[in-house]
Each structure stands twice: as structure tokens, then as C-alpha cells.
């Protein structure tokens, strides 16, 4: 990527920290900028405050048991989030399983191997995949991909290995498996794009040297480029995981929305985001709403953790 936009190059080129931090007194203009900047702090603090305030009654009433109890029964005011946590973890893990290899290979291809004339169009295509809204993925996943997966993957696997717990039970078109595959399609372009940028910012000279010493292209990538960018690629994967866990609409459309914990991947499930979508406007009693807010708080906490970790790994601007 030879663009002026490449952040890593910017960073290298800049000797001084740059900008206008002249150390002189701030006037009205500067203070206005500061005020705008603090709107970010305000929004983040408000988000945290509202989530906490809303979730507080549930936190007090159910304590830590909230995350290990399975039953979610508004009528008897018994709330446990384990089913939804389980669904979120299983779908995101499947998504990572299906997307990591493909994404890293695609990133390597786009950054290192593809002929020059192919790089721009391929990159554009990957970016298109990232620009499609999640509701459109959901629609396609529900009406096209789910029946296809059911007929050509779930049913055959189920009848081949009826006793293998992961493939057992009665397969359903809308299932944890379907949600995992759809999430994989949704996060791949993202992981690919971030990894590609990371790989591009790794050193050229060592690779050229090793090829000059007789390494094949792949050996240069395997022994030099990949180790040098492994941290950033790992960060990209963590970012992708954060996205998969926070993704709501597409998952709601294909996961089946059935609160249960089954060993089978082909059984329908439920995720944190989906239960918010389906129940938030229907919560009739305060403690019910509060329990839902606690789910929101969980989702918030997980995504903040993932993002903070990923930032540290990828580096500040290199994404």
C-alpha cells in the first residue's frame, strides 16, 4: 500500500511529536477543541453510568450467580445469563475457527503474493464485504445460507455421526453453527484488512535479503514476515473476536433464539445481543429490565476488554 494514508509510515516519518502543542496559553479556540474532546469522555462515562445504574438492582439481587445460572424466567423473577453467555462464546469461537486461517492467508496474499495488478481489485472486494450492513448478512444468512448449510452440511454430518455429541440431536437450519459460519463471513474481511496493514508495515529488507540468500518466497514469509507481524495479527484476531461477540442483528436472525444449552452445534441457541433485541422493549417489570441491562453491561465489558487488548497488540494507529 503506497498511499499517503498508511499510518505506520506516517509514524516513522515523523521525528517530532508534531501538531501545534506549542506550550503557549490556550485561548477560546483551543478551549473549544478541548470541550469537544471531552464530549468523548462524557459519552463513555454516561454509557458506563447508565448501564451500571440500570443493572444495579439485578447485580444486588442476583450477585455473581447471575452469570452461572441457566434459567431465565421473567415470571418467577429468576434470571441467569449462562445460556446467553454460552451462545455468545460458542458462536464467536466457531466464527474464529472458520475465519482465522482464511483471513490470514488472504492477508498474506494481498500483502505479499498477489500480482500487483490483482491487489487493488481484490482489496476493494474485501472492503466491499466489510461494507455490507449486518442486517443484509442476516437476511442472506437466514434465507439463503441457512437452508444450504442445513441440507449440505448439517444433515449429512448428523446422519454420518449420529452419536458424536457436537453433530447430534435434530439439526436445525437456524443454529449456533449457522450463526458461527455467518459471523465468520462477517469478520473475515475485517481481520484480513487489519492483518494486511500489519504485514505491510513489517520490514521489507529482511525479506529481500533472505530471498537473495536463496529462500523461497514462502520461506521468507514463514521465517521472517510472519514472526515479525505475529503480534499485530494476533491483535487483529482479537479485534475480530470482539466484533463477533458484539454483533447482534445478523446473529439474531440465524441463531434460532432458543434459550438452551445443548452439546450439539446444530441446535438453536441464543446470544447476549439477541436477547436484548428480542426482549428489551417487552420487559414489563423493573427487575426484568434490570437483568437485561446487566446483559448489556456484560457485553460492554467484554468488548472494552477485547478492544483494549487488541489496541495494545496492534499498536495505536496501525489499523
Amino acid at each position: 500500500m503506497t498511499t499517503a494514508q498508511d499510518p505506520s509510515k506516517t509514524r516513522r516519518r515523523r521525528v517530532l511529536p508534531g501538531g501545534l502543542s506549542t506550550g503557549q496559553r490556550f485561548h477560546l479556540f483551543e478551549w473549544t477543541l478541548v470541550a469537544f474532546a471531552f464530549s468523548i469522555v462524557l459519552v463513555t462515562v454516561l454509557t458506563l453510568f447508565i448501564l451500571f445504574k440500570g443493572a444495579w438492582p439485578a447485580i444486588v439481587r442476583y450477585g455473581p450467580a447471575f452469570v452461572v445460572h441457566q434459567y431465565w424466567d421473567p415470571v418467577s423473577e429468576h434470571f441467569g445469563a449462562l445460556t446467553y453467555i454460552f451462545g455468545t462464546i460458542v458462536t464467536s469461537a466457531l466464527a474464529l475457527l472458520f475465519s482465522v486461517g482464511v483471513s490470514i492467508c488472504a492477508a498474506l496474499y494481498l500483502a505479499e503474493m498477489a500480482p500487483r495488478w490483482l491487489r487493488a481489485p481484490f482489496s476493494f472486494v474485501v472492503e466491499l464485504l466489510a461494507a455490507v450492513p449486518s442486517v443484509v448478512y442476516g437476511l442472506w444468512g437466514l434465507l439463503v445460507m441457512a437452508p444450504w448449510l442445513y441440507r449440505y452440511i448439517e444433515s449429512p454430518l448428523n446422519s454420518l455421526f449420529p452419536r458424536f455429541p457436537l453433530f447430534g440431536g435434530t439439526p436445525r437450519a437456524t443454529s449456533l453453527f449457522t450463526a458461527g459460519v455467518l459471523l465468520a463471513i462477517m469478520i473475515s474481511p475485517f481481520i484480513t484488512a487489519v492483518s494486511r496493514d500489519v504485514i505491510l508495515s513489517a520490514s521489507r529488507t529482511l525479506k529481500e535479503g533472505s530471498i537473495g540468500l536463496g529462500a523461497t518466497h514462502w520461506e521468507a514469509i514463514w521465517t521472517l514476515i510472519l514472526p515479525a507481524s505475529s503480534r499485530g495479527i494476533f491483535g487483529a484476531v482479537v479485534l475480530g473476536l470482539g466484533r463477533a461477540m458484539g454483533e447482534t442483528m445478523a446473529v439474531t436472525m440465524v441463531v434460532g433464539n432458543t434459550p438452551q444449552i445443548k452439546a450439539s452445534l446444530f441446535a438453536p441457541g441464543y446470544t447476549l445481543g439477541s436477547v436484548l433485541v428480542n426482549e428489551f422493549t417487552e420487559a414489563s417489570i423493573p427487575i426484568y429490565l434490570s437483568a437485561l441491562m446487566e446483559l448489556g453491561l456484560l457485553l460492554f465489558a467484554v468488548s472494552v476488554l477485547m478492544n483494549a487488548a487488541a489496541r495494545i497488540l496492534v499498536g495505536r494507529m496501525a489499523r
Binding site: 499517503a4 494514508q5 499510518p7 515523523r14 501538531g19 501545534l20 502543542s21 485561548h27 479556540f29 477543541l33 478541548v34 469537544f36 474532546a37 464530549s39 468523548i40 469522555v41 463513555t44 454509557t47 448501564l51 482464511v102 492467508c105 488472504a106 496474499y109 494481498l110 476493494f124 474485501v126 472492503e127 466491499l128 464485504l129 461494507a131 455490507v132 449486518s134 442486517v135 443484509v136 437476511l139 442472506w140 434465507l143 473475515s188 520490514s203 540468500l213 523461497t216 518466497h217 514462502w218 520461506e219 514469509i221 514472526p227 515479525a228 507481524s229 499485530g232 479485534l239 458484539g246 442483528m249 445481543g273 428489551f280 441491562m293 457485553l299 460492554f300 468488548s303 483494549a308 489499523r319
Partner: protein, 302 residues
């Protein structure tokens, strides 16, 4: 990446690329991996093609003029459309973008010009945290902030939720663009006697204009497709055109969601038509932006 310090596991002279399988095997592995990586990229491209093909085929089959200008009608009554959703989306995206851009751009300028200290780093970290918050959570927050005090779902609430999602995207794009402006421009401006404020206003921001506009438009494209933040804020509306901003307002992505999940096949084909309209709009925006910017801008996307 600690440049220049990475050496292969075995760096003893002569053992570096000696492989028991010999030259032929090493080159076979090279070709194989090239093929695997090419195949992975092709697989991603195939996915794009599949999604777009179905959206285009199914969407074109059920789209009509009436779809674009009519209100939804009950199941079984022909001629219903998503006109109100399209209009509502345009209204909320415009309002949200106005808010998100007018706050996000100054934040980005601050981060680029004054953001190298601790305050700047913390605010930058917070924008990155904000960018990772699931959009459904933003919807929940705006529900408490706006919908509950106003006692009604509204286009205002929807627009604010969209603006919150947009804010970190715009501020990051602005920061990157402003940092591209050469430092010598600032020095020249200051040397000519301009105040820092004048320098930012007349030298730095104009210099970063292309980058800022590109980033802002990509962020608009991003929020235009958002569904989750609208669920609890604008709520959707199946029976009315948006006549004022303080009412529950339909949004195109919301209607696609509801129609796709319905059991009626005619509603499902309407969902395809809605998806077609949405995707065409976003593709157009993306292509225009990229043509305008003349380069890849993925690193600024959400």
C-alpha cells in the same frame, strides 16, 4: 514490529534454508502455499459475489416503483412498500451525520494538534473503546438518555444513537488526515505571525480536507446500514410517514429485519427489495468516496 531484530529460529550460518526435502520439495511447498493463500482470497471474493448476487437477483425481482414510495400494507394487500423507511433512514442518517461530524471533526483536530500528552492519549483510548462498543448497547444507552425522558420513541433518539456510533470513526479519520499535513506548513504559518487557531483554521484543516471528507462519508455509509441502535430509539413505524421528528420513525434496516424474520413470503421478498435499495445506496456511496479519495481507506473503517 521491532524492525530488523527478527531472525529465523536457526540462525547458524548455512543451516538457514537447508531443507532435507531438497530444492524440489521447498519449491513445491512455496507453490502450494501460494495456491492456498490465493484460494483463501478467492473464497472471500466468492462470498461477496454470493451475497451481492442474491441481493441483486431477489431484490430486482421484487422491487417496483410502488415499493419506493408506498407505506407498508398488511399481508395479502398488494402494493405495499417501504417508502417511509427509506425517508426515515435518510432523515435520521442526515441528522446523525450532522451531529457526529460536527463533534467528531474537532475531536480529531484536537487529538492531532494537541493530543500527544496524557490527556490526548486517554481521549484517544476512549474513542477506540467507544468504537468497540456493540451498537446494541449504544441503543440501550440512548433509550435511557432520550427516549425515557421524552416519553416517546423518536427520530431524534435514532439520530443521536447513530451519531454516537459515528463519533469515533469521524474523529479517527480526522486525526489521521490532520497528521498527514506536513509540519513545515504549521511552522511557516506560525512564522508568518498566525496564531495557532488561525493556523488550524486556514492552513491545517484545508490541507486535510480530502481525508476528512473521505472518512466522514465512509462513516455515513457505516451508520446508514445500522439496525441495532435504532431498535430502541426510533423503534420503527409501519403505518405512518415521518411527519415530525418527535415520533416513532421507520428506518430501512429496521424494516428489512422485521420483514426478513416474518413468516410471510411476500414480506420476505420485500425484505430483499429493501436490502437491494440499502446495498445499492451504500455501494454507490463507497464507490464515490473511493473515486474521490483515489485510494484505499479501509484502515479508517470501523
Amino acid at each position: 514490529m521491532n524492525n530488523g531484530t527478527h531472525l529465523p529460529a536457526s540462525n547458524e550460518p548455512g543451516t538457514l534454508y537447508r531443507n532435507p526435502g531438497g530444492r524440489r520439495k521447498r519449491h513445491a511447498i512455496d507453490r502450494l502455499m501460494n495456491f492456498v493463500c490465493c484460494g483463501s482470497t478467492a473464497l472471500l471474493a466468492l462470498m461477496v459475489a454470493l451475497v451481492l448476487y442474491y441481493v441483486a437477483a431477489e431484490g430486482l425481482a421484487s422491487i417496483s416503483w410502488k415499493f419506493l414510495v408506498h407505506l407498508p400494507r398488511p399481508v395479502g394487500v398488494p402494493g405495499g412498500g417501504m417508502g417511509n423507511g427509506i425517508l426515515g433512514s435518510i432523515i435520521m442518517v442526515l441528522m446523525g451525520s450532522a451531529l457526529g461530524i460536527s463533534v467528531g471533526v474537532p475531536v480529531g483536530i484536537y487529538l492531532a494538534e494537541y493530543g500527544n500528552g496524557n490527556t490526548g492519549n486517554s481521549i484517544r483510548f476512549l474513542t477506540e473503546v467507544m468504537n468497540g462498543i456493540p451498537t446494541i448497547v449504544s441503543g440501550v444507552v440512548v433509550y435511557w438518555l432520550v427516549v425515557v425522558p421524552m416519553h416517546t420513541f423518536s427520530a431524534y433518539a435514532g439520530a443521536i444513537a447513530l451519531a454516537i456510533i459515528m463519533l469515533p470513526l469521524v474523529s479517527r479519520a480526522t486525526e489521521v488526515a490532520v497528521r498527514q499535513v506536513p509540519q513545515s506548513w504549521r511552522e511557516a504559518s506560525i512564522a508568518l505571525g498566525a496564531t495557532p487557531a488561525r493556523t488550524i483554521w486556514s492552513v491545517v484543516t484545508p490541507g486535510a480536507r480530502t481525508g476528512i471528507i473521505t472518512g466522514a462519508l465512509l462513516a455515513v455509509a457505516r451508520i446508514a446500514g445500522e439496525t441495532a441502535p435504532l431498535l430502541f430509539t426510533s423503534f420503527g413505524n409501519d403505518v405512518q410517514w415521518p411527519t415530525h421528528l418527535g415520533m416513532a420513525t421507520a428506518g430501512l434496516p429496521l424494516q428489512i429485519f422485521v420483514y426478513a424474520m416474518s413468516p410471510y413470503s411476500e414480506w420476505k421478498s420485500q425484505a430483499w427489495a429493501g436490502a437491494f435499495v440499502l446495498v445499492m445506496g451504500l455501494l454507490l456511496l463507497n464507490v464515490v468516496v473511493r473515486a474521490f479519495a483515489g485510494r484505499s481507506a479501509i484502515s479508517m473503517q470501523g
